[in-house]
Every structure is written in C-alpha cells, then in structure tokens.
Amino acid sequence: MAGNEEVPPPALSAQQPSGSVKTLSCTHCGAAISVKYPGSTMTVVCNSCHSVIDVTDENYRILYQFSKSTQVCKPRIQLGTRGKLKGEQWEVTGYIVRQDRASCVTWDEYLLFNPYHGYRWLTENNGHWNFVKTIKENPAIDCAWSSRRHAELDGKKYKLFYDGTAIMLFVLGEFYWRIEAEQKVEMEDYICPPEMLSSERDDKEVVWSLSEYIASNEVAEAFKLRTDELPQQQGIAANQLSPWSARWEKISRLWIVFFALLTAIEIGFCVTAANKSVFKEGYPYIPNSKSTQTLTTSVFNLEKSSANLSVKFDVPDVSNSWFYSSGELVNNKTGEVYPFERTVEYYFGVDGGESWSEGSTVNQILFSSVPGGDYYLNLDFESGSFKDLASRTFFVMVRRDVPDYANYFWCLFFVSIIPVFTWIRSRSYEVQRWSDSDYSPYASSGD
C-alpha cells in the first residue's frame, strides 16, 4: 500500500525513477534540466536561468522569464527531498514565492507529490506552516453580511480573514499545470482554527483548498531539518489554534455548572430559611446627644441549635444626620457576648441642579452562626447633626435564620476569577490574530 515503504535517502531518490527521468536543454540558456516526473509535469523551471518551460510543448516553449534583477529566493526545504507528513511520504517537487499585491507580504509554497495521493502544498508564512489539500467540493458562501462573510463546509463555519490579489514572485521545480506569465489570482482565506479554507480564482476557474496548521517542528522533523534552519515564527497565524480558546471552552462550561450549583444552593437556603422575627421594639432617644446609661432589652428566645441572626436598626428620622449604636448580643445563660456597632446615616441634597442622596435610614448586622437559647441586647447610642432636639424613636429588630446573599456573591466572585482571566487571555489572543485582517470582528467601527 502507499507510503509504507522505507524512506529512500535523498541521494538515492534523486536517481531512483531512472527509467522515467527526462532530460532536456533549457531553451534559453542551454543548461541541462531534468524532469523527474515527465508524465505528470507540464511546467519545469531551469535551475540556472530560471526560465519557466512548457515540457509538453515539442519546442520547450518558454512560458515565463524571470528578469535577472528579480532576487533569487532559496527554498528552506530542498527540492527532491522527501518527508513523512500526515502519515504519507511526500516529495518536494516545486517551490513558489507569492506576494499579496496590496500589502507586499510574501509567503512560500512547496508543492508536494505522492503518486498515490497526488499533490499537497506546504505553505510557510512568517514561520507558520500549513499543510494544504485541494478540495473538489465547493463550500457554501454566506454573504448576508458582507463584513461577516463566511464559508461553510461539512457543517463547519469558516470566517473570512483575508482577500486580495496574489502574484508569483519566484518559482523553482516542476509543476503539474502550465504556469502562466504574470499569473495572478484573487485569493480568499476563511478561518476556523486550526483549519483554513482558501479559494484562488483566476479568469478560468476557482480552486478551493483546505489548510491545516502544523507545528514547524513537525515540518523540521519530517524533512530532517534543524528548527533553526526554518524561519523564526512571528506573531499569530490566521488559523493557529489558540491555547486559550480550548481552555476557555472547558472552563466556561465548568463555570456555568458552578454558577448553577451555587445559585441552586442559595435558592435552597433562601427557601428553607425561617426568617423569623424574634424581637422588635422602639426606644426613644434625644438627638445630638449620647446615651447616659446602657439600654438593656427584654430577653428573647432563639430557636434551632445554630443559625444566623440579624440585628437591624431602623431610625426613620435621620435626615442629613446620623445615629450610632454600639452594643452586644448577650446569652442570658452563658453570658457569651457578641459585640457590634452600627451607624445609620442618611444625607441628601441638590448639587449643581442634580439631586443626590447617600446612605439610608436603616442598617443591620448579621451574625452568621449563633447557638439557640435566651438572649438580650445591651445598647449604647449617640446621634448628631439633627436640626432640633425633640425626642425621637429608633427601632431594633432581631430576626432569626434570615436569607443571606453575601456568601453567595463572594463564592461567585471567587469562582469567576479564573474564567474571567481565561476569557480575557482568549479574547486578547483573538484580537491579536485578527489584527492582521481587514475583517476583524474586534475592530472598532471607526477602523
């Protein structure tokens, strides 16, 4: 079966299909050109003068002559070498340097050949590599929103990343089609990392291909090169898989589970909370003064062996003034003391035409776990900024087993730290990826 034989060393492979290698003299410079796969090759490039020659023409017509001033590009992977990629042996038979006309960005393309599986491309752009296969099926293009154009193939959506005109700067090797002079194609790239769908359109046809991002060390390993012989990687490639997106996907799912779980627990607490009023009493106070002796409330009973407890101060008359109380919850039997202090203050006014307010006429304290038994409160209090000194009333309310949201929100906060961090990293990766594109979904509308 295909490709399961031993890799012949390059020296051997160069002379291996000796029966079929065809030799001709360059029509332009006379140098000897050997065509390794004459039966499948239409175009060959002279190694010496870089004339592009039609092998199928009996006079070996020159199709294209690169001007002498054109710089000579050197392929990083030698033509004629073989490497195993995606489980198959591939021989590098051609090398093309292309350029985007508008941005002048260049990239390299290596044509790979395997007699059983045909042709593939290995492309290199900024040190990033793609393994490319021509496909026969035409993806469906959705142009509903021109700015969010995408292609669809086998149920996968690919977002438009690039379109432009590409020209050929340099070619070397042999090719299965006739390379036309000044060949330029309209290109479109649609991404769904680690894959990319590309179309190349000329006046005759549209060819679609599917690229898969591959790590440069995979390329180096396949063609037995040192990683430093390959170009240094720069930036993020169009279809490079984000290390954060998979993490974000996993974590966000986990986060939703936690969120649902915490919410369910909280709802459970709230529903089962007895929220029972155990004490309520109003007491007089003289504004703008300090209580002279400690007020002791009547004894009230707390049910349940242990539950939370809220002490709430309601001072309806604070109005641009304050009321402060320091006190303690005392167990009538054991004498155990739970001290607390609270200020109730409420301010409001109009500033530059805008009305404002701050604080409120109530304030409370929550003890998270208080054992059952008989209790009373000791209270000292003080107030200020009242306009007159007429005696007023403040109310103290004690509730047992009340619903509490603080723990819930704290838990949510801590559970959200990692997901939020991951999301930010994931998003900034995508922003960087799309910064090379004219179709970035992250670009501000002003761009």
Partner: protein
C-alpha cells in the same frame, strides 16, 4: 468471457465485458475494433510517457461496498493537462468509470437523463439538474483528445479521438461528467473517494515509492 484472436499477431484477446467494442492488443499494441465475433485491427497504439499512475489493468478496488476490477484505460489530454479514465467491471458485471487525476479518484456510472444541455449553453458556475436528486455545478469545459488507451473499452478510443468534456461537482463529494463526442452525448455521475478507501490491490509497482 469472450476470447478472440488478435488479427495482427494472433494473441488471445479476452473481452470481459459484453459492452466492450474496442481493445488494444497487449502484445502488439494493435488497436482492435470488435463487431460481434469479428475483430479487426484499425491501427497501432504508440507508447506514452509514464505518468506515475499507481493504477493498472487488473487492479482491483472497492466502491460502495462492491468489488471492481480495472479492465481498460483511456488517457485524455487537454491544453493544460491530462487525466486517466479507467474502465471498471464490477463483480455483478456492471460497468463503471474510475476517473483519476492528480491523486483524485472518482467512480462514476452512466446515467440516463431526460434532457442534456448543449455544451454551448454551459459555462463554469452553471447549475445543471442531471438527475432527479441532485444539482451539479459546472467546474470546467475542456476540449480533450485521446492520448492513449489500453485494455478493453466500450468506445472507439483511438489516439486523437476528440470530445468535449464537462466536469461538474455536486454536494457530498459528488461529481458528474458530460461527454460530447460528435452526436454522441453521455452523462456520468458518481463521487470522489479517498485513495485509501478504495482498498486497492494489484497496484502498479512504483520504483522508490
């Protein structure tokens, strides 16, 4: 199976398919035309440059769960390339065509269609309803010439035979071909399949691969 003697060299020519009307003698390369039990030599097939195809006559494969064997080959060329059309005989005696080009393999079968559009009416991108089930899109239209043939074939595949070939693609790796050869118009439809999925055996030996 019908066996006739090559009128040129006397070698036995086996016709495995009843539909075969043409053969190339594997010994003397005479091109032979069959009329019932009569075999007449009409010319010679000249050898062609090796095209690295891994297929050969006698090669067997599987398509849609059915085994087939390649019994004939037609190599056609156009201005920018060439491809092979392998005449396949399935175990049940039904024929098919295995198109092979640049590592793409598609098996297709002749289909009866109510009306076939004229080749002039087609341009790349045109949608054509060839069968009741599916619409195909025209990929390219090529003037092709028979470059080479071997084995047995259901058409007179002499070198230089000219035709117009329209390639179409459909959903789910579907493909179709319309062949206009003079007044003779035939439509084939089938699908692409990966090389490995054919489970080929008796492949041609390719040195170094």
């Amino acid at each position: 199976m019908l066996t006739l003697a090559c009128p040129s060299c006397g070698a036995a020519e086996a016709f495995r398919s009843k539909a075969s009307v043409f053969a190339v003698c594997s010994f003397c390369k005479s091109t032979l035309v069959r009329q019932d039990m009569d075999l007449s030599a009409v010319g010679k097939m000249s050898e062609l440059q090796d095209d690295m195809t891994p297929l050969q006559i006698g090669c067997q494969g599987t398509y849609a769960g059915k085994r087939f064997e390649l019994i004939g080959r037609l190599k056609v060329g156009y201005s920018d390339g060439f491809w092979n059309e392998w005449y396949a005989l399935f175990a049940d005696g039904s024929p098919g065509w295995l198109a092979e080009a640049q590592g793409f393999y598609a098996m297709c079968f002749e289909v009866a269609t109510r009306e076939i559009p004229s080749s002039n009416a087609l341009t790349p991108g045109t949608n054509v309803r060839l069968t009741a089930q599916s619409v195909f899109q025209v990929e390219d239209i090529r003037q092709v010439k028979c470059l080479y043939s071997e084995g047995e074939l259901p058409l007179f595949a002499t070198q230089g035979r000219e035709s117009t070939s329209v390639d179409l693609t459909g959903p789910d790796n579907g493909m179709a071909t319309i062949e206009y050869a003079g007044s003779d118009v035939r439509v084939f439809s089938g699908s692409y399949q990966e090389f490995d999925d054919f489970n080929f055996n008796n492949l041609r030996k390719l040195d170094g691969w």
